[in-house]
């Protein structure tokens, strides 16, 4: 398991606590995210993750024909594509509309040249598994507008009619209850209904006072209001359209007809698998031969907003076929990207790759894992995405490991499982620039060696001289800086080496606005004063599992 770094988003921790939870707890993984899934709000200067952003739909489209469906038709078409897009019930790939074969000449070669349009009846055909809809009896006279042709059959299904009746029954109660809840609570941000800004504006407009008309209030003094309130609380009983048992006999859900079919079953392929069945809106028959093609469900394009300042973080383009974004404030454009590597395993992997992939006991131990009781260096590579150079300072967060075991010996072991040392001073990372602007790497390397002042051959130093080599800035290349750290693993340590690391970096921002805090320089000459901003975030570094030392089973000894 390769070492990983995840970034911390404070949305889960509540308002006062800003430090991340201890990483060895299983529940803490919810707060840490890989960098590519995080966003950054410029107004709040904060990291946002997928759990805390508010999401609103900006458009619906069919993933097959890429047709943008207006939101009004989405409900009417039951969230599925209204054109010729169907998914194969067997393999769930897209179906193709094909014409039937022309009458056969008898020798396999077509006697009449095939026309472009083809001959009716048309049917749906899966190129992947060669299923066709004629097996379930669905054929069409025209090759276009298939969804409309199938609509009649869909709507007359008994489950669909039952659902329509349920909707009609509940609709008046839903309407009155939603209106009353709106008049109680003026549009505040922490409403239980997930309102987007559009609907919030609409509901606020609806609740506005109209001169000359009394405001609707369920607790009103008038008799009309009280009557409505009385009606709102009770609902007439719902009578279903048909008996419950009848639906079962139509082949929906397990009863005697299903048992009979199972008894007569010859092979496992006759029963439809779970993946084939759960796309349906209601339960259908279990048999594979009864599976029908479904219209392809629509996908939606979402735009994401910061939860506190409502600034748009992600806004996709309106066209369904474009994958770009109008607004794209991702954290990777603001925070330095960090990767961690264990150099001793990388050397081992490189030599092992050309050989056969047969792992032996010693291979497992060396590759990607650390032995208890030893110390290992690790490399952190930071990549600067900004156009200005930054100064980075790393610090390891103190971990309070509280053991909840009964015996005392494991408690002692867990108290100090491993110790991490990182360079404590701040180091610069160069600015991001185009590839041709960077100098040669050779000059950089020579400088670094002189600064460190050590031979590269020594690897087994654990004293102060060894620390200078492994802990500190190792390499500076383009906009990447590699720093080394060291982790010392205790003899009785178990589990994964995971520690929280606080990263703070300062960069020069050229904001023309006057600064709020007093950290800016007092003299204010325009475009000359460097406005230095500091941003701090937490990360969790996972270096991998610790392998306990096996003293008796070690084959190398």
């Amino acid at each position: 398991m390769a070492p990983t770094i995840h970034y911390y988003c404070p949305c889960q921790s509540g308002e006062s606590v800003q430090t991340p939870p201890p990483p060895h707890m299983a529940s803490s993984s919810a707060s840490f995210h890989p960098l590519h899934s995080l966003f950054f709000c410029e107004e709040c200067d904060a990291v946002r993750c997928n759990r805390c952003v508010s999401v609103e739909v900006s458009g619906y489209y069919c993933p097959n024909c890429l047709f943008e469906v207006p939101s009004a038709s989405v409900r009417a078409e039951k969230n599925r594509c209204a054109r010729n897009c169907f998914s194969c019930p067997i393999c769930r790939s897209t179906l193709q509309v094909v014409a039937s074969d022309p009458p056969d000449g008898g020798d396999g070669r077509p006697s009449v040249s095939l026309s472009n349009v083809g001959e009716p009846p048309f049917f749906l055909y899966c190129n992947h598994c060669r299923w066709d809809s004629a097996e379930v009896g669905i054929t069409f006279e025209k090759p276009t507008g298939l969804a409309a042709q199938l609509q009649k059959f869909e709507d007359s299904a008994p489950e669909s009619l039952e659902f329509e009746r349920l909707k009609e029954h509940f609709e008046p109660f839903l309407r009155t209850s939603s209106l009353s809840s709106l008049s109680h609570v003026p549009s505040t941000s922490s409403h239980h209904l997930p309102t987007s800004s559009a609907t919030a504006a609409a509901s606020a407009a609806l609740a506005r006072d109209v001169p000359g008309v009394g405001k609707y209030n369920p607790l009103a003094r008038s008799r009309v209001g009280r009557d409505r309130t009385a009606n709102k609380d009770e609902m007439p009983e719902y009578k279903s359209r048909m008996e419950i048992g009848v639906l079962g006999q139509l082949g929906s859900e397990g009863d005697s007809s299903d048992v009979e079919a199972l008894r007569r079953m010859e092979s496992a392929e006759e029963i439809a698998s779970l993946e084939q069945r759960w796309g349906n809106s209601w339960t259908t028959s279990l048999r594979t031969s009864d599976l029908r093609p479904l219209r392809i469900p629509l996908h939606s394009k979402v735009s994401k907003r910061c939860p506190s300042c409502r600034h748009i973080l992600i806004k996709p383009e309106q066209k369904a076929q474009s994958v770009r974004y109008k607004i794209k404030l991702v954290a990777a454009n603001y925070l330095p990207a960090m990767t961690v590597a264990l150099p001793h395993t990388q050397g081992a992997d490189a030599t092992r790759r050309p050989q056969a992939k047969v792992p032996s006991a010693s291979d497992d131990r060396n590759a990607g894992a650390m032995m208890a009781g030893k110390s290992y260096p690790f490399h952190l590579a930071l990549t600067n995405p900004l156009y200005d150079p930054i100064q980075v300072r790393l610090s390891v967060q103190r971990m309070h490991v509280t053991a909840a075991t009964n015996s005392t010996a494991p408690e002692k072991a867990r108290r100090t499982p491993f110790a991490v040392s990182l360079p404590t001073s701040s180091f610069p990372v160069a600015a991001f620039a185009e590839a041709w602007e960077y100098d040669d790497d050779d000059d950089m390397f020579g400088l670094e060696d002189d600064e460190l002042g050590l031979e590269m051959g020594r690897t087994r130093d654990k004293d102060g001289k060894g620390k200078v080599k492994t802990v500190g800035v190792l390499e500076k290349r383009a906009n990447v800086t590699v720093v080394g750290g060291e982790v010392v693993i205790g003899k009785e340590a178990r589990g994964h080496v995971k520690f929280n690391m606080l990263v703070s970096y300062t960069y020069r921002s050229d904001d023309p606005l006057p600064s709020e805090d007093g950290a800016g320089t007092p003299s204010r000459t325009v475009a000359k004063t460097p406005e230095v901003k500091t941003f701090t975030f937490y990360t969790v570094v996972d270096l991998g599992p610790i392998l306990p030392r096996e003293e008796k089973l070690d084959p190398d000894i």
């Binding site: 074969d101 077509p110 598994c129 060669r130 004629a134």
Partner: protein, 172 residues
């Protein structure tokens, strides 16, 4: 040594063929296709299309017979003792020497058809998916597909010589 009726077939200079191979008329063998008749001879029918990096190998002493109008797509590997007509072996599929393919079969992309026992695939078998599930095709649309295959081969016969060198007669 390669022998065969080369008058109407089309073979390219870059393909690696070894052994006793007979190829029918109208077959198109793309460059970088490999036909290995290591242990026994291979007989390929007419109108077949063997695309790049396809490997047809016969490791048994008996004759390996491949029928007419088959399509061996890129990167596939076929070792069957017999293949029928109008089959399609899709990209990167592998078919073991224990399988005998009949007619109008479709082996899907990247499918591994490697049963341990000898097996004959029925006509119109379609193998698809990562688990190589099988189902029987109803055969609807086979005439259109056959027509497409013929047009495919015809197009290749017309276009490929413009861009590749041909091997005519006995190749070394």
């Amino acid at each position: 040594m390669a022998s065969g009726r080369d008058d109407e077939q089309m073979r390219h200079a870059d393909d690696e063929n070894t052994g006793d191979i007979t190829i029918g008329p109208g077959t198109v063998v793309h460059p970088k296709a490999t036909i290995f008749a290591i242990a026994g001879p291979i007989v390929i029918g007419s109108g077949c299309i063997i695309e790049e990096a396809a490997i047809i190998v016969n490791r048994r002493k008996e004759v390996m017979r491949v029928g007419d109008n088959n399509l061996f797509e890129i990167g596939c590997r076929v070792e069957c003792p017999s293949v029928g007509n109008f089959n399609t072996i899709s990209t990167r599929a592998r078919v073991h020497h224990t399988v005998r393919i009949s007619n109008y079969c479709v082996i899907g992309a990247a499918c591994l058809v490697v049963p341990t026992d000898d097996e004959t695939l029925d006509d119109y078998t379609s193998i698809f998916g990562p688990a190589a599930e099988r189902r029987i095709w109803s055969g609807r649309g086979r005439i259109q597909e056959a027509d497409l295959r013929l047009k495919h081969a015809e197009y290749l016969r017309e276009m490929l010589p413009k861009f590749n060198r041909l091997r005519r007669g006995d190749g070394a």
